[in-house]
């Protein structure tokens, strides 16, 4: 018998299901709504965009335990909110030779950054590649503040990214694929999504497209959408960036994994973000 540790009604339901189907687990996304603090209803299920292999796009929130889902639904209990608050401090922190902070140019993020995080990655003409929020922050730091770039996952990178994305809390993810070479990068990202890697010979699609809703040992496989990133991961007790998670997944196939912000992972971020088109930005999401 499995998963009898699950609490409340779900435990009862699982017990009944186990009784009926023997050792099989009760998989699939839960049929519930994510309403933050009883006020802000998130779009966690929506029709897939044209060209998407699945009919419905579903947030990873639906695949987590009742306890984890409850943590995200209450902004006071959501442990990722501490990272967002820290991000606000970085937003206002003066650094670099120009004596500026983010706020010096962008003022109050609560108005200037609304919807911004929902539209990244976007085309960046000066470097002729798509950039994400992390790289946009680094562009601003170098070009406008006269400050050093943040290294991957270091210093203010995760909290500030989370803070900026959080200003789009509830807003649907929508990328502009018409700009620059975004379509070519989308194609490259798609290719990587289906590329089988490592000794275990698995692609992103092996788990998140073909087997979402099923358990792989104790882990309930989701569609792998990134609308909650940087997301709070209970396993690691902290905010986890999109590229950190990509690298972790690829590593688990027993493969060498690309560098953060490499062409490979930027293309993959663009494509995977697109797969979650229409879902609300949940940053900071709460996951297992």
């Amino acid at each position: 018998m499995h998963r009898v540790f699950e609490k409340t009604n779900v435990a009862l339901t699982s017990l009944l299901l186990v009784a009926i189907v023997g050792t099989a687990n009760a998989g699939g996304p839960v049929d519930e709504k994510l309403i933050i603090d009883g006020e802000l209803e998130m779009i966690t299920r929506t029709a897939a965009p044209e060209g998407h292999p699945l009919d419905e796009v579903i947030s990873g929130w639906h695949y987590r335990t009742p306890e984890t889902r409850a943590l995200e639904a209450d902004s006071f209990q959501n442990p990722g909110m501490l990272g967002v608050e820290l991000g606000e401090e970085y937003w206002n922190k003066v650094e670099g030779t120009e004596g500026k902070s983010c706020a010096s140019c962008h003022n109050d993020a609560a108005s200037s950054m609304v919807g911004v995080g929902a539209s990244y990655p976007k085309w960046h003409a000066p470097t002729s590649r798509p950039i994400n929020v992390e790289l946009q922050i680094n562009q601003c730091r170098v070009n406008n503040m006269g400050a050093e770039e943040y290294a991957f996952d270091k210093s203010g990178q995760k909290p500030l990214t989370a803070y900026i994305k959080h200003q789009s809390y509830g807003k649907p993810v929508k990328l502009d694929l018409e700009e620059g070479d975004m379509k070519a990068w989308w194609e490259k990202g798609k290719e990587l999504y289906y590329k089988r890697t490592g000794q275990l010979n698995l692609s992103c699609a092996s788990c998140h497209e073909k087997n979402n809703g099923k358990y792989i040992r104790a882990d309930h496989l989701s569609q792998g959408n990134v609308n909650g990133f940087p997301t709070y991961r209970l396993k690691q007790a902290g905010l986890i960036s999109t590229h950190n998670r990509f690298r972790g997944c690829i590593r688990d196939t027993r493969a060498e994994f690309p560098k953060a912000f490499s062409d490979e992972l930027m293309a993959l971020e663009l494509y995977v973000t697109w797969r979650g088109t229409g879902l609300s930005v949940e940053t900071p999401g709460v996951r297992q």
Partner: protein
């Protein structure tokens, strides 16, 4: 040796000679390299290690997360003391009745030879692997030939 003086030792000697003749032709010596394995009618007829499998050892390899880790994807009632059985692949209850030993060996060695390229099941004794394999694992298989035989021996007991 006189027939009426046939000792236990003499009997043991002749049996082991007979076995050596059989194994000499059927199993050759030592493990077969992954790329030299022949699949016929979905079956790998002979041991890939050159020795027979040990079901008790196979049960351990099956459960070990760093070896077979079979429970990640398959439920198995015979192992109900272990929590969290996966459901990506079919339950292995009755696998020993559904498949012949030779078929089970093929599925463990390289499931793609039975279920086509579409299966997500890794090949546990195959070098037909994904791209960018971790440097330290290049040219290496997930399980050794003997571990494959042990797991196959265990799977045949799941009736």
């Amino acid at each position: 040796m006189m027939p009426n003086r046939c000792s236990a030792a003499g009997l043991a000697l002749s049996v082991s000679v007979a076995l050596a003749v059989v194994s000499g032709s059927a199993m050759s010596d030592g493990p077969v390299a992954p790329n030299d394995i022949k699949v016929e009618n979905l079956e790998i007829a002979n041991s890939v290690s050159g020795a027979s499998g040990d079901a008790a050892e196979g049960r351990k390899v099956f459960a070990n997360r760093k070896q077979g880790n079979c429970l990640a994807c398959h439920a198995n009632s015979e192992m109900s003391e272990q929590l969290f059985h996966g459901e990506v692949g079919p339950t292995l209850d009755g696998a020993g009745s559904r498949w012949t030993e030779g078929q089970l060996r093929t599925i463990v060695v390289n499931a793609k030879a039975v279920f086509t390229e579409n299966t997500v099941m890794p090949g546990f004794y195959s070098l037909d692997v994904g791209a960018d394999v971790r440097e330290s694992l290049i040219g290496k298989t997930i399980l050794t030939a003997q571990q494959v035989e042990d797991v196959v021996a265990y799977l045949t007991t799941l009736k």
